[in-house]
Amino acid sequence: MASVYPPNQTVNVSYTCFHCGDTCDGSLIHDGEKIFCCQGCLFVYQLLTQKQLTGYYHFDEQVRVTPKKINVTDYEYLDIPSLRDKIVHFTQGGICKVTLFLPQIHCTACIWLLENIHKLDSGIIHSNVHFLKKEASLTFDEKKTSLRKIAELLSSIGYEPNFAYDKNKGSVFSVVEKALYIKLGIAGFCFGNIMLLSMPGYLSTAPLEYGFLKFFAYLSFMLSLPLLYSLSDYFKSAWVSLRQQTINMDVPISIGVVAIFTRSVYELFYQGGPGYFDTLAGLAFFLIIGKIFQKKTFYQLSFDRDFRSYFPIAALRREAQCEKSIPIEDIAVGDCLIIRHLELIPADGVLRSDEALIDYSFVTGESQPVHVVQGERVFAGGKQMGGAIDIHVTKEVSRSYLTELWNQEVFKNKDTSGLSQLSQTIARYFTFAILAIAVSSLLFWFVYDASKAVTVFTSVLIVACGCGLPLSIPFTFGTVLRIFERHHLFLKNDLVVERMAGINTIVFDKTGTLTIPRAGAVSYEGIALSPEEKSWIRALVRQSTHPMSRYIYESIPASISPEVMRFEEVPGRGIRANIDAQEISIGSHAWVTGNGFKKAPENAMQAHFSRVYIAINRTLKGVYKIRSEYREGLSAVLSDLDEQYALKVLSGDHAGEKPTLRKLFSAKTEMLFKQLPIDKLNYIRSLQENLKRVMMIGDGLNDAGALKQSDVGIAITETTSSFTPSSDAILKAEGFGYLPFFIALSRQSMNVVYMCFTLIFLYNVVALSFAVYGKLTPLVAAIIMPVSSVSTVLFAVLMTTYKAKKLGFSVNGNTEKRKMDI
């Protein structure tokens, strides 16, 4: 069975773990011929072998998920009935259904393993994976297993369920989409049949066939009734907007539809004419196609998150004799909470343990952890690094420093109108113009030939409600959305394009936006280190969770690690241990040399380097300099943007990087440091009060307020599976270089929309002249309507694609590949 490889092995060969595919560094674990990097991987392998699930290893995937070490109490909170009921969405007779979000799902093997999960836990009856949503729907028998056991099992094989994600995602969307598909089906069915039935009427009016035509017209009338149902959204929206005394695009559409329908019914029953049911059907069908085109959802991405999505759903409370999991809503002032390694602090409090090292990068963007001693305040959103600590809660979760940000106005005013500013303006003018033309021609004909007056009046309303107008915006912006998506920018909806076109100020966050998070450029200065010494340093820094240690660890090539003895870590100072009978110390200058008086000579200009000193047997060897690294292509992007937009930098960090930033940005760029989340929000607000249209680009939770307040908030992320704050758009890091082009294309697309409007205007001049002269026959209407709609849509799509090509976007991407990427 498993045996630990001799630790003094010095062969420099890299092994890959049979289970997770990672390069093995520490001690290797053997099982037969297979090598594993850790006990976790070995455990999963043995479990899968035992249950005959080795098929998992037959997929030629390079990267599998690395299992996570779980504590006994990690999922204890799932046994709390109130929390369990929130997660489980169906229970009957002990049979429960639950949908879990598993962000680690990434390949075919994942689907296979998760759908065979019942072999690992006999209580699970059925499991079904939704790959794009990264969700697994499980049905389980509560008599045999529990939600907690399932969560523990999934975590132990590497799929850690994410319970904190927003629950209203997904289900609501699919209900809306389903309704739209149903409406499309109905409209398509009616459209096809009505067109077929109307065809004979276009071709001949011979009296012999009159009976048939009449029969067909009645059938068309019956088929048009479900059409009215499929257009119900438009009537509702128009009604709502009229009651709010505004006019949106749905108002002229609804007026037109009502005009067509009543006129047709009147003609059919009182005059025996065929009516305009064909026109109505065409209109409905095109409108719903436009709506479907507009509805584009990125399953994995969530644009509206609040702090609850980030925070754990339960915390561990220390009680008289024991520890108890409680839901975070139940945390009360005065509670004593236990925060373990890498856990988030859910509420503001005071530290009760001796000391703690808290990483506030999530909140402030400051990448270096803060050293806190007993009695000092700790804030919600901080992450404990190192051992477990006790905190004494001083504020409720909802009143904590970070969560108060969410009580700001910006988070309450949710943009629910979902209407484009442009289309609303156009709709207003358009509606009034049409009504004016209709009424004046009514009056004219009333004087001239009263019998034709009503006919002309309705004719004007019928032709004018051409669906080209409401279609041109979704199709233009929808095309832009798809092109952006291919270049790693995901917009919340198509309306963001319009707002993006209007911006004139761009605000950047520094940490994580301009710099690459978690990747410092490490350089070494001093006496050259031998490979052996390097392997000692690597082994030592591996023991520490400090980010600086991680940077150094990553900068030294892998080798077999020597054994680390008598490891010692003093937060804020350094680490020390004995390796191969040598004493290695790493940390501040005073720490490694052992004298606290002499401060290392530091050049003021280089203060933005973080320095980590190395000493072996108390002799100073050299220093690792760690500098946060700027994004690739940053200077090109900035110089492009600087010509047209006012650029600003907001940073939660200290001003250490200012000289470097000065070189990247032009002299007129405003830079503010040590900004709290609320300062960032207020800064954006003050820009807007000066009539600036602001685009904010940020990454952390600390930018959440500013992102929400800005006209266009873009959250930048390295991987789309990681959490991003609430925003209008999510930009994957690869797409950063395209930033100037994204804005340029959104501006161009506005021009395309205006061109479409011109085109529609010309069509309307032709159609209206027929209508005003009282010459609109059903045939003319049936020809003009689809021709104008289809040509407008085609024009919008082709023109946008052409503009994008001219800007240098590739417009034909591999769809399948993209699906897997996001």
Partner: protein
Amino acid sequence: MTILIVLVITSLTLAVGFLIAFLWAVKSGQFDDTYTPSVRILLDGKSTEKIQNNKSVN
């Protein structure tokens, strides 16, 4: 020519049948996930041999 009426009614009945089939498909969730089933059909629970031959999707 009156046969046309029969034909039209027949064709409409057929079309309504297809419409109902479509509505049922949407309501029963067949359009909810258009990706995973395409992968799942290539997986075989019993024989690991077959899986080995499958092309990876990544």
